[in-house]
Point group: C2
Chain length 343, copies 2
DNA sequence: CTGAAAGCGCTAACAT
DNA sequence: ATGTTAGCGCTTTCAG
């Protein structure tokens, strides 16, 4: 295994110069640098991250902590983060909690990450107070994606506003009875988005002078199957809603299926809107509020890398824009159709 | 930052003993071991992977090379691998190629991985000859998941057989015109599954004495949207098939949608079967040939870890079982219904 | 069962 | 612009 010494011997220089030349540090003549680079390549020299890490205190590695890699949203964020990390020569260490408390414990409560990574990306989770303390004690840049965590660097969308956008669309169409399919606002995984989206739903009802009925809110667990169950629950009521706002596209698609099983035509009998612009939303012609998922991963990675370069950088709360994407699952409600058509 | 020296000082022993005690090596009295462990925990000692790696030559890290993390199949394999790696104290370094040739180049052609990981998992890709040589030169255990690569350790299903299982089900139901929706059998990413599944399709036709018509084979690119296009193409023919076998559930779901758009009832007018048992298959009541995806990740990780422990272990070709899951998208063809009903 | 000492392969002052 | 010299924090002989 050729090491830096071999390169140094070959070019008849010290290892220090070789190291400087290879890392693009100043204080090396251009001629030397080229010669070193060529020799290194010719010899197939690859630096040892362990040695470099030990000597420099930097691992050039970023940890990404994700609740479930198998969920499209998280995978897409990881993909975005990986892109920019790779471009900048950083490695991505993946920690998938997958609902396993011991995994969560291992990642947060042992100080495992301390000497292992230069920075941390936490996806969607809202860490507990104790976990936050430990994260802070890491003394490394941490960015949280998709959760609202005052005092921390975050990259997310304005979930409340996104929900309001969806609701506004339904209300503008003339809907007055609007159901909500969301997810647990507290639980093992502590996400903040469900709470904010529910708040946006209720806000909008209030603002439109509509009453919020607990019976019109159902739990879809942020999955297809859960969305289908929740949709069925709402649609089988004696007084079903004319529109359903689901806090994620996966749940919205579940609602579509529930509607179909109950022989309801979408959007004639029922309007459905989601949030995400999931890769399948277009496929189902689902109207939704799009959020830049992949981009959130990219921005988060850029943010921690910047903190690494400019340590005095203040943690920023980045809000990425959302956008209403109208497809074919929303329309005026049956009763209002006469009035609103063609206006 | 407390290091091994701090622990050694505290227990009044050498760092060598502390190191041995903490790693569970023999030659340490039980009493010493407990005392060391307790002290280490009390002091919040966390070993430095860089230092340990430099001294031992082992990184306790495994690289996982994945074509697209955002595809459910790959994400599920990653999740399985991560589980067993974590249990055994290994870290997972994720390399997502995402169709980026420069990413692929970086991972395979620089010897980047050499000093960085103890083992490598390659998902579904069939590396080129040159890439294989480089992988071999790493001198580290490599397991390939989901591809058929003679001479290498692999974990996969028998794709040809899985396809035959699907076809047999359709043929048993009485179908005689069966369409196929698959994906490119060659291309940038070089997967082997598409080829094997297509072969299984053609084999089965032959074995049943049916002719294979090129016009009944369409490319669905292994995506929902592609499956929908391919399905439409087949179903809009003058002589459409009575059943379609899609090489993945995602494409099968696309076919379902195409059928719906063309006002074909599934399974009355058209039978559809897929492969995977994707998380959405149950949701769509899709009949499919299930493969243990998550388990493939687990087995692959176990395999490389075993090679790490037992270096003389011979690379194994593990075939995991598949199983026909009959749901509601398959039935006898329209013409045969009279004959086959109630038999 | 435990300790002393010599690295692992780099980087980072500090010199020159 | 380049070299010298110390480590970084562990593991691993080799002794005892």
């Amino acid at each position: 295994m050729t090491g830096i010494k071999d390169v140094a011997r070959e070019v008849e220089m010290s290892t220090a110069t070789v190291s400087r030349a290879l890392r693009g540090l100043p204080g090396v003549s251009e001629e030397t640098r080229t010669r070193v680079q060529e020799t290194a390549r010719r010899l197939g020299y690859v630096p040892s991250p362990s040695a470099a890490g030990l000597a420099s205190g930097q691992t050039r590695t970023v940890a990404v902590i994700v609740p479930f890699v198998t969920r499209w949203f998280f995978a897409a964020v990881v993909q975005g983060a990986e892109e920019v990390l790779r471009e900048r020569g950083y490695d991505l260490l993946l920690y998938n909690l997958a609902g396993d408390p011991s995994a969560r414990h291992r990642v947060f409560e042992t100080n495992l990450l301390t000497k292992r990574v230069d920075a941390v990306l936490v996806l969607s989770l809202k860490p507990s107070e104790e976990e936050l303390q430990r994260l802070r004690r890491l003394g490394r840049p941490v960015t949280v994606v998709g959760a609202d965590l005052p005092g921390w660097a975050t990259v997310r969308i304005d979930d409340r506003h996104a929900a309001a956008t969806a609701m506004e669309h339904l209300i503008d169409l003339g809907h007055r009875r609007i159901g909500y399919v969301g997810g647990a606002t507290e639980g093992v995984l502590d996400f903040t988005a469900p709470t904010a989206r529910l708040a946006g739903y209720r806000d909008s009802l209030l603002a439109a002078g509509l009453v919020s009925e607990p019976g019109l809110e159902a739990n879809g667990e942020f999955t297809f199957a859960g969305g289908m169950r929740a949709g069925r629950e709402l649609l089988e009521r004696a007084d079903p809603p004319t529109a359903i706002f689901a806090a994620s596209d996966e749940m919205a698609i579940g609602v579509l299926r529930a509607a179909r099983e109950l022989d309801l035509q979408v959007p004639d009998d029922l309007s459905v809107i989601g949030i995400d612009d999931h890769e399948m939303a277009g496929f189902f012609e689902l109207t939704t509020v799009a959020q830049p998922v992949h981009e959130q991963g990219r921005v988060a990675a850029q943010q921690v890398l910047r903190s690494l370069t400019l340590p005095e950088w203040e943690p920023e709360q980045v809000l990425l824009p959302t956008r209403l994407v109208v497809r074919s699952t929303t329309a005026p409600p049956p009763t209002a159709r006469g009035r609103t058509r063609g206006r």
